[in-house]
Assembly symmetry: C2
Homo-oligomer: 325 residues x 2
């Protein structure tokens, strides 16, 4: 079994070897830029790890894994245009460094490139990999659409939020695992269990992200703490806070939601965080995260392979759950 570090090392080497120094430079250079920014490479790692659970030959899943990573980075590129985000991983985003048109068109060709890598999936697994990849890709767009729509809606239900993050984040983790499992030769039941593991770990992962956005350590988190609070993002915590707050608490929460004065940013973050603590929504979010994490652990439990072959994936799950950044 390869360790997670060995696997991400392999992926990084392969990603660095893709040639983006093609003409027209203005089209391909931004793709190289985006992919060189790094990131955790979790999705392709999941594909290779799932493959490795059933086969010693992880190289056969490499192209499919790279396709998923390129697709993921494509979604970040286009999402950053839509969200008018200027910085990603500490560097200027493509539409900022170049312009909107470049970001649109380079993104489009990146999506095509992701399909070119997926098309190199071993023949016997090609059709179903392609179908799952397309369904997943469309679901991610649906998730992004809901995310945008929720911004301008007055009320969002907790279940709607969970469905949005399932689409926007979890399905790609599930697909990454299922595709890797298929290529490794897993049976239908094991492949489905790994898909489900991906969904549950993905939901837990996003709830953890929401918690870190409020309670994380700014030095290591990589983003400004309190960003979600400042833009009134209807996260699992804010949705429940709006439901649970009564009397003065409700008035205070509404007052801060209406406050967009940048000079009051720190006060807003502190006040809303205090309300989250008081209303117990931090605990609610942690419990929901634990709930999905436990389901993921149970899914992995049921996969019909030796305990030893599950170790790396279990360790990665723990790492994602107990991270502080």
């Amino acid at each position: 079994m390869k360790t997670f570090n060995e696997i991400t090392q392999l992926i990084s080497t392969e990603i660095d070897q893709i040639n983006w120094s093609k003409e027209p430079r203005g089209l391909y250079e931004p793709i190289g830029y985006v992919l060189s920014m790094g990131g955790k490479r979790i999705r392709p790692a999941l594909t290779l790890m799932a493959c490795n659970m059933f086969s010693d030959n992880v190289h056969q899943a490499l192209n499919s894994a790279l396709g998923l990573e390129i697709f993921h980075n494509f979604t970040l590129l286009h999402d950053d245009i839509m969200d008018r985000a200027d910085v990603r991983r500490g560097q200027p985003t493509v539409h900022k460094k170049w312009d909107d048109n470049t970001a649109i068109l380079s993104g489009d060709v990146m999506q095509i490139a992701s399909y070119q890598f997926i098309a190199q999936t071993p023949t016997e697994q090609l059709k179903r990999t392609l179908d799952l990849f397309s369904i997943t890709a469309a679901e991610i767009c649906e998730g992004q659409q809901y995310d945008v729509e929720f911004e301008s809606r007055d009320r969002v239900e907790a279940d709607e939020y969970l469905e949005m993050i399932r689409l926007k984040t979890a399905v790609l983790l599930g697909a990454a695992l299922q595709i890797g499992a298929w290529i490794g030769g897993a049976g239908e039941e094991d492949a489905q269990l790994l898909y489900d593991y991906g969904i549950n770990i993905g939901l837990a992962f996003q709830l953890k992200d929401d918690l870190l956005d409020v309670y994380g350590n700014e030095a290591t988190f990589g983003k400004k703490i309190g960003g979600d609070i400042l833009c009134n993002k209807k996260t699992y915590m804010l949705i429940h806070a709006l439901e649970l707050a009564n009397g003065n608490d409700a008035d205070e929460l509404q007052k801060w939601i209406r406050t967009s004065d940048e000079k009051l940013s720190n006060q807003k973050i502190q006040a809303v965080t205090s309300l989250f603590n008081k209303l117990g929504v931090k605990r609610l979010c942690e419990e929901k995260m634990q709930h999905f994490y436990a389901k993921a652990v149970a899914n992995l439990e049921k996969v019909s392979i030796l305990e030893n072959n599950k170790q790396e994936l279990r360790k990665l799950g723990e790492k994602l759950m107990f991270r502080n950044d």
Copy 2:
């Protein structure tokens, strides 16, 4: 053999039957809107016609044909954002009717949908269809990139212009024909000849479009005549006019290129058109168009099937060349 009209009728019926009334509405509704706007449906028609040249069963190529048409409409959607075009086929464009973010994201999911249809290509032809489709899709993006870059360049060579329109327009016609031929059971040589036919007819088609933009009949052309002249688009004619103009003609051409005053629009169109006539670049463009058309006819000549089975494609080629709108 099915006639061109029977084939476009079949395609229209199939396109109308695709269900875009899915949730989230905000994501899928614009796709139904774009596809309901119509258009000539030339690309999917080419796929079915090429298939029909080798097989009576055109239905086996239907999904691949629809994939190509959806991809073509996706490129129009994203190009219209980049070109800030407000109207397409007499109706408001998606980014105008909705907004930029909607046009970006609906376009993304449209590209995925095009791959979902391509993935339904008959199994034996799937891999090479998928590969040709992706290469072609990337080339179209490259063509769009060159088109955008040429706008801000002082000088563009005629050969660069031809390469740009090959990428932006011709390769999709070539791919549409080759994919249809493969599915119909054509041999490698015939399929390649039809690809080449598509390239040559595509180049001739675009030069015809450039001619109609200057010399067409406004009532039937569907766009304002002189649009390319007003925005100084470096077409085959303007590129040659810039090369050939001397003395007063050169000064006058430069003066009009620097003129962007809307009140002088009609005068600019008239003056530049007169210069095109005087410098003989209208004739140069017609000759180049004829050159590619003749090559296309020769390609079709060499395809090793009965003369009778080439009739519909030959008639379509003539129709595209001798149209006035």
